[in-house]
Symmetry: C2
Subunit: 474 residues, 2 copies
């Protein structure tokens, strides 16, 4: 077995034992020497394993004593409640609140806890620049001409190859590129919905999806959603007669960070196909899992072409490139026609650059780093929240993605918290943004994609202080 | 006066006299020596004036005799009829025909008479590549982050500055960037229309607009349109009670190449504003005029913010960059919200590169060249058509843009011509594509944006031969 394979094998073994609780916070790990003997590896390799685990905040070293499972992992806050939205479609759009939050985002020197993209510091800009320059030099006419309608062939091939890891099994011909993930969702809704139709979604749900749906004149039915496991199948079953389309973010959903089990994904796909209800699956967070394996998708279980699978690199690599894609199943012709009409062509230069970034293996390497950083961030956030937020604060327990959902006591209104925080140049996302119903007023979404530093921690502590102040004054 | 200013002054004087008919085909121009004496310029400058006029195909030199106004200019074919569509909204979409034409466009080694973009050979790719590389190096994070929602500030400033030349008088704050011109039109229709509304357009009309409108569930009312002067005001007046939106390409419209007079533009703007009907103005061809001055726009006469002005660089610089913009007047908030939802952000790199290309004056220089080439092409096309197409063939007389409209005798069906031509690797655009009604079966649009060469001429002659064959067999 190759050295690198062994190294990955051993590291993943520890990750799995620690995250599953076989090894518990405070447990001592074997010494470097012992690890060498056990696995017949070099001292250097053994040290690399521990450094890797340490960078993921899974273990900590104590001088003269060795490595221990991190105490951070013992910090767990209670889970928020399963959401209980009204099962009657509602359209009480929190328009003003959303506008206020988005408008303020442009301000300088803001600590942006309110978005769900990774901070610029976590992205491989220097390498991407090189790819852009390379693509510009190599493309015919420097990429100034229209691409073929379906999109850059090399990129589609790479996406198809990567899909094998989660059972997507795409061919290049199954894919259509788009100008980012929202553009992909927009085309899917245009292709499937007509005004008056009802769409079922998770609750809480990403505000862009809520606004997109209401913008197309759709009625929105919010489904009860577990903060860790996603939508409740029983509720979906009951809703079936009322709905025309379903849209889910099954993997590390924003704002909850929930992830559906394989079993539930399979069940949802079957249920919707039987009832001829198309499923739009948004998988923009699927690649940034904290464990050792990428979760499957609903598309993995789709035998009928009934799932329109959407993804992008906006949450992992370069939000500003607007590179996304759809595997539209049996709706491919409709999607192609919409792409021709509404955007004519994708933009060659950025698509070619991303294709090469994937092809040369740079993307996988970058993802490995990003996952470690986000996992460590998550643990640091939870520890800080446990120490500095009001008693009784609950959080979701994302196993991937960029979002952490925080639920306060009912007395603490996050609209008020927003107004206080923005004065201190801190932007949070109040829970009410994530629903068309009157719920989540005591919740907020936090982005864990900021680089962890004393400053970030300090800002988080400030949010906690302000929340306590609101609690006292209520 | 500077040498360059004098040079431009003298050249424009000749252009104006020739195009207005003061100097007629065959008229002799003054000698180089005489021009020097008359204007107190050097021999070199005088020679440059004649070379410039020759490159525009306005004059030709005869050995030992000097320069003469080109005989090409004496070739004028009769104008097609004013279109007479039914004034009842119709929806007989030529879907299959459009699909066939678009699908075949991907084939290799095709002579593309069927599109309305300039051929790659006419665009400044090397210079654009440099701008892309420069932008990638200079932008923060290499342009991988989201831009501000309204779009690249430098680009908006440059567009605003350029708008002064035609009375747009924009400020940077009046503009919102989009992913190309179709994306701009798509946002405008989304902002203004709801299913069942009626939109008035020119007839014939660009197929993308027809499909976009029907895709949004709009009823389409086609207005009688003069091949040289655009829509008939009287018909628009009669249609007013029936319509909710109006969409026009007033300058060098595709497919006709027609251009509305200032007077008519002013009248249309007034009429629509009085009746509270928004006007979407597509001005993608306005910069490629053949005369000495850029035509005004409807937006030039808009005092109410009722005109949504759309344009792009897709027809003049780089189709594949997808850089477009809207000056949405009083609909700005709606357009910004749609942009946020459907595309999140424009793509920094291409927008920054185009901004710099404009800022450094390279765009104006490029446009000067492109205009000359297109004007010369137009005259070469018309001469070849006059010599080789069936007797009785009529053509429009575009004073700018990329389209020439050809009308055959009723016996010659351009659907048949298409099927014959595509077998010879020549793609034409049959007239029926440009309407939702049964009209224009004997017409076609020709792109004059191909580089003129013996090969291009030969292909054009072949189209003529095939048309004659159809005529004989009918």
């Amino acid at each position: 077995m190759s050295k690198n394979f062994l190294y990955t094998e051993i590291t993943n073994g520890f990750v799995s034992q620690i995250t599953s609780g076989v090894l518990k916070p405070g447990d001592k790990l074997p010494s470097v020497r012992k690890l060498c003997l056990e696995h017949q590896i070099s001292m250097n390799t053994a040290k690399r394993v521990f450094l890797e685990l340490e960078s993921m905040s899974l273990i900590e070293s104590k001088p003269q004593s060795g490595y221990f499972v991190s105490q951070l992992l013992s910090v767990k806050l209670p889970l928020p409640e399963v959401s209980r939205p009204s099962l009657i479609a509602n359209n009480n759009e929190p328009d003003e609140l959303i506008s206020k939050v988005y408008e303020n985002m442009g301000k300088k020197n803001l600590t942006l806890f309110s978005i769900a993209i990774p901070s610029g510091e976590l992205l491989p800009h220097a390498k991407l620049k090189k790819e852009i320059i390379h693509a510009t030099r190599e493309l015919e006419y420097g990429g100034a001409e229209y691409e073929e309608l379906q999109g850059n062939l090399k990129l589609r091939r790479m996406i198809a190859q990567r899909s094998l890891s989660w059972g997507g099994n795409f061919s290049e011909n199954d894919l259509v590129t788009t100008n980012g993930g929202m553009n992909a969702l927009s085309f899917c809704l245009m292709a499937l919905g007509k005004p008056g139709d009802t769409i079922a979604i998770e609750s809480p749900c990403y505000p862009g999806i809520l606004q997109l749906a209401t913008g197309f004149g759709l009625k929105v039915l919010e489904l009860p959603t577990h903060p860790a496991h996603g939508i409740e199948i029983e509720s979906l079953k009951k809703a079936i007669p009322k709905i025309d389309i379903c849209l889910l973010i099954p993997n590390f959903n924003t704002p909850l960070g929930s992830c559906m089990s394989d079993e539930n994904k399979k069940e949802v796909v079957k249920l919707l196909a039987e009832n001829n209800i198309p499923l739009i699956e948004d998988d923009v967070y699927g690649d940034i899992y904290f464990g050792t394996h990428r979760p499957k998708c609903c598309k993995s279980f789709d035998t009928e072409g009934n799932v329109l699978y959407c993804s992008s690199i906006s949450k992992t690599l370069a939000p500003g490139y607007r590179v996304g894609w759809i595997a539209p199943g049996k709706y491919k012709d409709k999607i192609l026609k919409l792409k021709l009409l509404h955007s004519t062509s994708s933009i060659s230069i950025v698509n070619e650059a991303v294709a090469n970034f994937l092809k040369t293996g740079k993307y996988e390497k970058h993802l490995q780093e990003l996952r470690k950083t986000l996992q460590a961030n998550y643990q640091n956030y939870v520890q800080t929240i446990a120490q500095h937020f009001p008693e009784g604060t609950k959080t979701s327990r994302p196993q991937g993605g960029l979002s952490l959902w925080v639920e306060f006591d009912k007395k603490i209104q996050t609209r008020k918290l927003y107004d206080l925080a923005i004065k201190q140049s801190i932007s949070i996302a109040p829970g009410r943004m994530f629903s068309l119903q009157d719920q989540f007023e005591n919740c907020m979404r936090m982005c864990i994609g900021l680089p962890w530093s004393e400053e970030t921690q300090q800002k988080l502590i400030e949010v906690g202080k302000m929340a306590k102040m609101i609690e006292r004054e209520s």
